[in-house]
Amino acid sequence: MRKLQFNFNEHNQSLESLENYYDEVKAAIDLKYSKANPYYNSDFQMMTDPEVENEREENYMELSREASMSILAFVESLFRTDFIIRCELKKSDKLSKRYRHTYNPAKRIYTYSYNDVVLDGWAQLYPEEKDLINELKEANNYRNWLAHGRYWQFKDNPAKYKIEKIRNLAHRIQSTFASELMFVPKIGEKL
């Protein structure tokens, strides 16, 4: 039986852990900017209430962006892992054959476009999920904008990609494709 050559990370994150992190940090921001914060007067001395509120909102926004980037990166890891396994183990189902047609083990994995190669394969195979895949592709454009430092004018409206929407998208992707995605087997498991 073929063995996987790719050096996968054994300690990859889970969607749950990323969401827990977001919830905890948001709670910390909530506390810091509330009158329940025993250091409130010291932390926000000389500031007006609207200034404190604005600062809190800015911090919420940055946290949302950070969490969105992590969650979308997690979703990418699901599809990239699946892509690598299908190609390296030379699987024979339709999606795997489609991938293997373009796959070259000498090329680096990131040269295969996530949106145009990896996700397009799923959209072709599951046309009933095309809208969901397209929604993910659009979110990936937002993620790329964040990941590369937001230095260009984003074509879409960034405010559209609220953290709640990204979390919801990640859960729908996971539940829709969970049974079809290939995962790195744990010790003792087989693919």
């Binding site: 009158k35 329940a36 025993p38 250091y39 007067n41 001395q45 007006t48 209430d49």
Partner: protein, 184 residues
């Protein structure tokens, strides 16, 4: 983690302080603030930049602007502009209902800001002004106390926003140095 009892106490304390604050006279508060602003502007013209104002090398102009504070509503305050060649410095009163100070004027220049705040003459940092007590289950676990004896005399000092806020006294030299540092 803040326990629920502490959370409830803090919320009720905040409500009591708000109720106390509501007994104050808004008109009097605004009038006092405007007087403080006028005193500050007078210091600029008659002390800190006097020779330059007098010989016309620095031009000073005052116009009314409207600011809004939740407990006071909209009211007019004087904004001062200083013209030094092509340099335009704006002194914009921010308000009188702020945390730890009854008055703040922002000096603005091309997106940069220096804050002038009303504090006790003896105060040099935030820890001089603010004391707090933290209790867990009714037991005091942390307490600070005001380290300095206050004069009771409020003066304008300048500072910049940051984690370690220090209030610096103003005289002609420090004011002029401040302007040069802001512009360069």
């Amino acid at each position: 983690m803040v326990d629920f009892k502490n959370f409830v106490e803090q919320a009720n304390k905040a409500k009591e302080e708000e109720a106390k604050a509501k007994k104050f006279d808004p008109a009097e508060r605004i009038a006092t603030f405007k007087k403080r602003i006028a005193d500050f502007y007078a210091k600029i013209d008659n002390e800190w930049l006097q020779p330059y104002i007098n010989d016309g090398s620095i031009r000073s102009e005052v116009q009314d602007i409207t600011i809004t504070e939740e407990s006071l509503g909209d009211y007019a305050v004087p904004m001062k502009k200083l013209f030094i060649g092509d340099i335009v410095l704006k002194f914009v009163p921010v308000g009188t209902i702020l945390i730890a100070t009854p008055g703040r004027i922002d000096l603005e220049y091309k997106g940069r800001t220096i804050m002038f705040v009303l504090v006790d003459e003896a105060a040099t940092s935030a820890s001089d002004l603010i004391s707090y007590e933290i209790k867990i289950n009714g037991e005091v676990v942390e307490r600070t106390s005001q380290k300095k004896k206050f004069s009771g005399n409020l003066v304008w000092k300048f500072t910049e926003k940051g984690m370690r806020v220090r209030y610096q006294s103003i005289d002609a030299e420090s004011f002029q140095r401040l302007i040069m540092g802001l512009v360069q």
